[in-house]
């Protein structure tokens, strides 16, 4: 190697180390507090799920009533875990790709603490019976301005880093992350502003809420997941993304199609624009296109060479997330066909299955992959136990497959029972019960898998990671094997 390139390599490594050091505290904070909220959310999910097939469970506790526990579960999953994992990964990825150190770690850390406080107050509000009754917006009305301010305080620095990056070129991952950073405030202010600060017909309020749910999934969580995958796949395999134009097509098709989706949840409802729900259904079906394009592109990156792939945990989780994305694309089509399946799935548990597939099966798996990649770099330690990583991976995968298939398939069965108008309503309740039991079991399995994740992350946070040596791979036999691509 010539001295010029070795000097460049050294200065690159120094820059990367500087970036990692500057972001150590904010990113670790977001990941650990996000993981804590994930634990809370899964516990609430288990309680809620048990109550569907066994309503006498914790019957006398007002705060554990299904109508409060379920919204608490979904809102802590989104705002407690989803956003904080997203923040941790986003600020690190944007800093690395812009080659800029973070100079506002203190501000970001403060905003993160305030975010946690606001989410805690909101969750207590829901459990205390002060929820708003608007799905995914059940936090009491004082919460959303706090979340918005914290969001701006956390994310604006990544935007500045992108602006002052050297050169004109941008990575595919940066488009998705920038897109998420810009879409979210627009969506959030629209929905919360129109529903809390303005007034319209009650049906239109319900429609905007349905639009918000879909937009948050497909214009914030999925883009962050895709940006992470587009970063990790080339990094972990050392292979370039095969087609830049396909990547562009994938991004812009998501940008064009996703904002129209969401109102299919109000099919048959007397909105002034009766076509609006069917526009939403068509857009959701078409969303399969950008998702499939992105998955194909990233899979081609990973499998573009005949050489064996490293058994890196980040790669495993990224691949699992990509499979989740593929399943999401198929479900988006299968659930929303206006003549046939939309009638069945509109008021069934398949909606919940679809949302959990997006939030856990795609987004969370990609975030886990990013966590296993990022944490060693910012703590300068390696993960302690490949067995823990294996347990986390396989049990999470089993759990999410059980929930996704159970709820998606169960939703069709439930919808068919609802449509059988000559049968009494008891039939519908009976038919759902086994799928609710599957769901409880699956959430227990997911909790079990995440116990290993929490323990492992806590160990790394406390500085108990393994010093030096090769990275921890998922194959324990290969622990002494070749160095990974950093």
């Amino acid at each position: 190697m010539s001295s010029a390139s070795s000097a460049t390599a050294l200065s690159d490594a120094t820059l990367r180390a500087g970036i990692d050091r500057s972001l150590r505290h904010p990113v670790m904070f977001f990941l650990t507090s996000g993981a804590a909220w994930l634990a809370v959310s899964i516990l609430l999910a288990i309680i809620a799920s048990i109550k569907v097939h066994c309503p006498q469970f914790m019957d006398d506790c007002e705060y554990a009533s299904y109508g409060r526990v379920f919204p608490a579960h979904i809102n802590t999953l989104i705002y407690g875990w989803g956003f904080q994992a997203g923040f941790g990964v986003l600020i690190w990825l944007m800093a690395r790709m812009s080659h800029q150190e973070c100079r506002a770690a203190g501000t970001i850390l403060t905003a993160g603490h305030v975010w946690n406080l606001v989410v805690l107050l909101g969750t207590i509000g829901i459990l205390d019976g002060r929820g708003t009754g608007m799905p995914w917006m059940e936090f009491p009305a004082f919460v959303w301005p706090g979340l918005l301010l914290c969001y701006c305080a956390i994310v604006v620095w990544s935007f500045i880093q992108f602006r002052v990056r050297d050169g004109e070129r941008s990575y595919v991952a940066q488009w998705y992350l920038l897109g998420a950073m810009i879409w979210f405030p627009w969506i959030f202010i629209t929905a919360n502003g129109l529903l809390f600060c303005a007034s319209t017909h009650p049906l239109m309020a319900a429609a905007i809420n349905a639009w918000f749910k879909s937009a948050l999934m497909f214009l914030f969580f999925i883009p962050i997941a895709l940006g992470t995958a587009y970063y990790l796949a080339p990094k972990l395999t050392g292979r370039p993304i095969p087609s830049g134009s396909l990547a562009k097509l994938g991004f812009w098709s998501l940008a064009v199609v996703a904002p129209w989706a969401g109102m299919q949840k109000l099919a048959g409802v007397p909105l002034t624009g009766v076509f609006l729900p069917y526009l939403g259904a068509a857009a959701t079906v078409l969303l399969a296109v950008p998702l499939a394009i992105a998955v194909a592109n990233i899979l081609r990156t990973i499998f573009s060479s005949e050489e064996k792939l490293p058994k890196s945990p980040a790669l495993h989780f990224t691949l699992a997330g990509l499979m989740g994305l593929l399943l999401l694309a198929v479900a988006a089509i299968a659930l929303n066909l206006p003549g046939s399946s939309l009638k069945l799935t509109q008021f069934s548990i398949s909606g919940y299955g679809f949302e959990i597939l997006a939030l856990y099966g795609c987004f969370s798996f990609m975030m886990f992959g990013a966590v296993y990649f990022i944490v060693p770099r910012i703590t300068c330690r390696e993960w302690v136990s490949s067995r823990f990583i294996n347990m986390h991976f396989f049990f999470s995968a089993y759990g999410i497959v059980a929930i996704a298939f159970g709820a998606l398939f169960g939703g069709f069965i439930q919808g068919s029972a609802q449509e059988a108008w000559l049968q009494p309503w008891e039939t519908v309740t009976d038919v759902v019960r086994p799928y609710a039991a599957v769901s409880t079991f699956a959430w227990c399995v997911i909790l079990f898998s995440n116990v290993f994740f929490f323990l492992h992350l806590a160990m790394m946070w406390l500085g108990l990671g393994r010093r030096g040596g090769a990275p921890t791979l998922m194959d324990s036999a290969a622990e002494h094997a070749a160095p990974a691509s950093h």
Binding site: T200, P259, T272
Partner: protein, 239 residues
Amino acid sequence: MSLRPFILGLAASFGLAWLLVVIVPFIMMRNLGPITLTKETDGAAGIFYPKRSGRIVNGAKVYAENGCYLCHTQVARPTYAGNDMYRADLAGLARDPERGDTRRETNAYDFEGETFAQIGLTRMGPDLANVARRFEAAVAAKGGGGDPAAMFYAHLYDPRRNPETRKSTCPSYRFLFTRREIKGQPSNEALPFGGDATSELLPSPDAKALVSYLLAMKKDQPVPAALNFAPPEPKAAAR
């Protein structure tokens, strides 16, 4: 891709959908005016602008806070969107003792008084758009001058107490009731169950608001011709 075309592209692609799907419908549906009735089509001149009785605002708040929308819907979809209209008791009563078939699709005036229409997320439990009419019919069929409000209170207190709904997965809303020692005369709000010689069961203000809201869940009033999608009455067969 440099920043400026990126931002412009994002703004254009999102902004178009945002305007057409969110903002414009929001503005257009803000002030739903009444429907003018004419003698030819509706039999009398005037306007159609129904109001609902009962404690809609307070009751809807309790409904939202306790997550009833997670398992119950409040919409009867037209037949192109589902089979709701075919059920004998979802969209009205198929065989109302006085008026015959009173089933109709939900229309935009059915949510008057609320700020957020609780369309509902799933149908784990039955649709509630006409639940008050169903309970009234059940009480009338049983005879003896019962009260549909008592049926609602009984269901909220313990859904599985009634043998007809013993498999219900509705949560028990016991916390919406209070047990009080009887001092002198029993209260006239005391419920006909759950009490004994010395104590009585009373609904809390939240329970009363919720039941008042649920008692307004009847969508079988006559609608103007503009909103009436029922098939025309068959002419009496000429034998």
